[in-house]
Symmetry: C6
């Protein structure tokens, strides 16, 4: 992250997703897409626990976008 | 953003789009393209609310371009 | 821009293109290509007005190259 | 790494993988994927020893993601 | 350029190519490839005059590699 | 290189490859792959002499990975 300041919306919104264990879709610049919940964020990476319990460390620079995902019916 | 200074045209133009709730097309380096309105910007990301009400967090580094979109007739 | 200093050739050449309303071709890392005139540049972005009058904000990091375009005969 | 601080989860998690000689899958922005164990990390790169004993130096900026890999049955 | 210091080999080698008007092949991350001579370099860009006399401004971040090109027989 | 400090493994390992004239495979983010020996490294680039004696300057940001290559039998 260019700036890791919890007062910024980008940091606090992710902090909220972690606290609420929000199910997210995370798309990478490679086209890979993961669905899961974030366990932590820092200046360098996000860490996602996928629905099949894999721990994926994703450097911030590789992220294309992230968005809340509606839980499957 | 390399520099988050509201005196810069890049920051103030986006600020204007947020204030006016301008409908935008936002193209990513992945080729993904989103249409919606910006709800906030900061040093790290833009946050877009799409026309089907999804909240998409897009790191600045993933953006290819953004432009106002004429509302569909 | 790594460094936004009007003494640098990269900044002054673009400043010249803006002043002269030079018709440019601007290619992005996505392969997208735009033709138009620059209305401003800053530390973060270039802003291009295309020939069909669209205002396109392009973060500097997304640019592959830019070159003057001969006006169509 | 934007910030090489052993107090950060991103650094300490990788430090743990090195200590435990955890088998990892490492995917690059090119789509290349390697499986092996990390021998070191620093501000610039990760160094992976693959299962066929190749030493691969990977600049941090080229990494899409990394995750522990279950050993083949 | 991360560091624009004429004492560095990367800067002085390019300075030499400019002085000698060395014919170069310049490949971009998009896969585009240009052949021509450099007219200047700075912290942000290289400027290439192609063999058909086009002036191409290439941000440093878009360059994949550059190499001297043997003149066509 | 984010940090050009000869005490770091990334810098000293490459220094060793240069000293030993180690044959390397160098893969770029474009998918291009070169085989040769490094003649120098600095904060911005690596310079490779290929097996057909071409001098290739590769900005650090364009590198996907590098690894020693077993000499062809």
């Amino acid at each position: 992250m260019a700036q890791f300041d919890t007062g910024l919306p980008s940091i606090s919104q992710i902090q909220g997703y972690i606290k609420d264990q929000q199910l997210l879709e995370l798309k990478l610049l490679t086209g890979d897409s993961f669905s899961g919940q974030l366990c932590w964020q820092d200046q360098n990476c996000l860490c996602l626990i996928t629905q099949d319990q894999q721990t994926i460390m994703i450097p911030y620079h590789a992220i294309a976008y992230l968005k809340p995902q509606a839980p499957k019916a």
